[in-house]
């Protein structure tokens, strides 16, 4: 009841005309920033920090957090329409969403993403409002051993992530692991494979890889084809979600939202990892796993629900403990400090107006985003009626400007073009690109958390089964490895038996 009363008070704060206006400004900007590749929500929030100086703390915070989750909605657009992830967390959307777009179903992909993001967002804010203290304790239960097992769970799924041969998927993943090795060793601090380059000292950023292997590679391949062969011709009214689509997506949204929220809670993971794992989970439970990678609407729904609920989940450790769970919440914490508010465990009680106003504003913001995105989905999708040959130069410019914006350096532009070539060769060699991207995201987490775990346990691998949470995760890893093997053996045995019976029936003739 206490929480309800506080929430009601929060709404009275969030619904003042000024705050409402700034929520609107925040989510609109977030939508735009999310759609532009390169500038992610955290960079966008930092750009707008000086604007917030004159504002009330609540007003400033509702706007900045609006950018954070608005970005999760906006990232979908470029991923689906032009296969360039608008921000890192939309990378799995680029895989399946763009395939859907080519089948003339961009409208459905965008609508499913918007509804999924909305439902997951509302669910996550509700959990945030009522369970923050409990959840923050749960979040702290995750540390290096759990992160390692989580990353392992993702990495072991790479073989199944390809659409063709498992060996080719593993080649893709190995390439990704090699990319992830470049940079400073996370424990020793020595440089690895940087060849004296300062730009490589902090490793290869994920975005140049993703923009390169998806967006740029796609343009390169399109140049081999005759012009105007790829314009999608669908009428506006064919672009709405049908009842069948909805039935396909609704459980995916629920699962994606849950997975995303739990992973968002953990200070070490973040929305990108959340979207990847939700996509993998969805593929495992889906009745049609073969469609993943070729345009699975439920894959898009799961990944998009996950990244939005993860963005909200990251608010839990930030509000309850003052620990940033993601790059975006780090900027929110900075904003608090700049506004003269000290974050920490006392924030929930000392700044109740601020915290509850913020939480209530997130309900409002998500509603605005749904209203903004759902009716416009077919409209955005009709961008694809422009022949690809006219669209391609624009995509190239937006991709390269985005690459430059990551750290304001031309080095990343070169890197993006290089990975465009890599992606082109991968398409030509029929090596799936999703495992590469997945490995680039998960490998650093896996490496550093493995080494941290073993340092914490002074070398004993028992740390991965001793802790209750890690024991559960370890079981899941074993299960996900054993299940396909078990299925395979079972299928072979059935086949053999069938063969034997056939032979018997033959011999009796």
């Amino acid at each position: 009841m206490d929480a309800l009363a506080s929430l009601a008070h929060g709404f009275s704060v969030a619904m003042t005309p000024t705050n409402l206006l700034f929520v609107l400004i925040g989510v609109t900007l977030g939508q735009l920033i999310g759609a532009l590749p390169g500038i992610g929500p955290s960079a966008g929030m930092a750009l707008l920090l000086p604007v917030t100086f004159g504002l009330e703390p609540v007003t400033a915070l509702v706007m900045l957090s609006g950018i954070m989750y608005g970005g999760m909605y906006g990232g979908t657009l470029t991923s689906v329409l032009v296969n360039v992830p608008g921000e890192a967390a939309s990378v799995m959307t680029a895989v399946d969403g763009n395939q859907l777009a080519r089948q003339g179903r961009a409208g459905q992909a965008l609508a499913a993403a918007a509804i999924g993001s909305f439902l997951a967002g509302i669910g996550a804010v509700t959990a945030l409002a009522f369970l923050t203290p409990i959840l923050s304790a749960f979040a702290l239960g995750f540390s290096a051993p759990e992160y390692f097992l989580l990353a392992l769970l993702g990495i072991t799924a790479t073989a199944s992530l390809g659409t063709g041969s498992a060996v080719k998927a593993m080649i893709g993943a190995t390439l990704g692991l090699m990319i992830a090795l470049v940079g400073t060793d996370p424990i020793q601090g020595t440089s690895r494979l940087t060849f004296g380059s300062l730009e490589l000292l902090e490793g290869i950023d994920f975005l140049p890889v993703a923009i390169g292997v998806f967006g740029i590679a796609e343009i390169l391949v399109s140049m081999e084809q005759t012009q105007a062969s790829r314009a999608v011709r669908t009428r506006l009214r064919d672009m709405w979600l049908t009842g069948k689509d909805w039935a396909e997506c609704r459980m995916a949204m629920l699962r994606g939202g849950l997975v995303g929220f739990v992973i968002g809670l953990m200070p070490g993971a973040g929305p990108t990892v959340a979207a990847l794992l939700a996509y993998i989970v969805e593929k495992k439970v889906s009745p049609h796993p073969e469609k993943f990678g070729h345009g699975a609407l439920d894959g898009v729904a799961a990944a998009e629900s996950a990244n939005n609920s993860a963005a909200h989940g990251a608010m839990v450790p930030m509000l309850a403990l003052g620990i940033p769970g993601s790059a975006s919440t780090a900027v929110l914490l900075a904003a608090l400090v700049l506004l003269g508010i000290r974050p920490g465990p006392m924030l929930l009680t000392e700044q109740a107006d601020l915290v509850w106003g913020l939480i209530a504003s997130m309900f409002v913001g998500n509603v605005i985003l749904l209203v903004m995105n759902l009716p416009l989905a077919p409209l955005f999708a009709s961008v694809l009626r422009i022949p690809y040959s006219y669209l391609a130069p624009g995509i190239l410019v937006v991709s390269l400007v985005g690459a430059y914006a990551i750290s304001l350096s031309l080095f990343n532009v070169g890197l993006t073009l290089f990975f465009g070539m890599v992606g082109y060769l991968m398409i030509r060699a029929d090596i799936p690109r999703a495992p590469l991207v997945l490995a680039v995201v998960l490998a650093p987490l896996m490496e550093s958390s493995l080494r941290q775990s073993l340092m914490l346990s002074e070398g004993s691998p028992a740390i991965f089964v001793e802790r209750p949470l890690s024991a559960v995760l370890a079981l899941l890893v074993v299960g996900s490895l054993a299940l396909p093997l078990f299925n395979f053996l079972l299928a072979r045995r059935a086949a053999r038996r069938a063969g034997v019976e056939e032979a018997l029936s033959h011999s009796s003739d």
Binding site: S42, S143, P267
Partner: protein, 340 residues
Amino acid sequence: MIQPCAARPFHLQLKHSVLAAALGVALAAAPAALHAQTAPTGPIEITTGTSPGGTPDVLMRRAAKILNEQKIITNPLVVQNRTGGSWMVAGNFVMGKKGDHNIVLCIAQPILTTPITQGLPTLYDKLTPISMFIQGDLVLVVQPDSPVKDLKQLVELAAKRERSVKVAGAQSGSTDHMVAGLVEKAGKVKLNYVPFDGGGAAQAAFLGGNVELMTLTPSEALPLVKSGKARILAILSSERSAAPELKDIPTAKEQGYDIVWGQAWGLAGPPGLDADTVKFWDNAIAKLVANPEWQASLKENFLRSRMIPAAEVKPYMQKLHDEHLALLRDLGLAKQPAVQ
């Protein structure tokens, strides 16, 4: 044909261009104070090497805000995050802007330590020193239920359990790592330092009860102490802090261990920055440091603002560098003796 500039009186601009032409030779002789009001034209970039939200980023944004709001500097100040290479991308960007009036670099610890740990040419002695003007303390914290009550007991415990008292901190070579090294050196013990991906992740590991010891800033530590999630063992300054919340915390020195370490931030210009612009910054920072709003905002976060002016900053930076080099050598993290 010279276009009169709307923002600044014409004669100043003329003087400015003459000065720029005569740069180097004339300035060494001419007393710079005569041209104290010569401000650069146009927006000024403050380059930082952290991503948005990092402490130096927050400090520079706050300084920029007050400098602009109080009209101490009328040029728009833009804080730019040029991340990569543990501040070396930011550092080298400014290094490449020789004599540029419209850019300054935020000086933070990695500007000193990254060249040492990566075996790169030093930057601190090639940039034009302007001023160091923000200082911060550090405290050592343990778990609230830890049997360790003071530094002596910590050292005893570490002696009993060699390399097994777990310390969380940021990346290898960070402030946290160096403090752990100082504790090891002062107590003649070995700790188990576990580097996490940044201070936030380390703090999460500490709050989850995975490690026993950690270094925090007072503004990070006090809310945790207040809510019973951590206990402070010692403050690492040379004297006790004057802040009421901190005055009862004993220094490490008082407890018999020579562990004095802190954080410092400031500004430096690109190489070959003319004395006039240095003077302009020196004046601006003197006014900033005297500003009550600035002082209050730092005090809130338990930071101090004592100005080390341009005239004195060179030997100060030299000393700071030598201390870092010695400590990183002890930790086995110095890649090459960066003495030049």
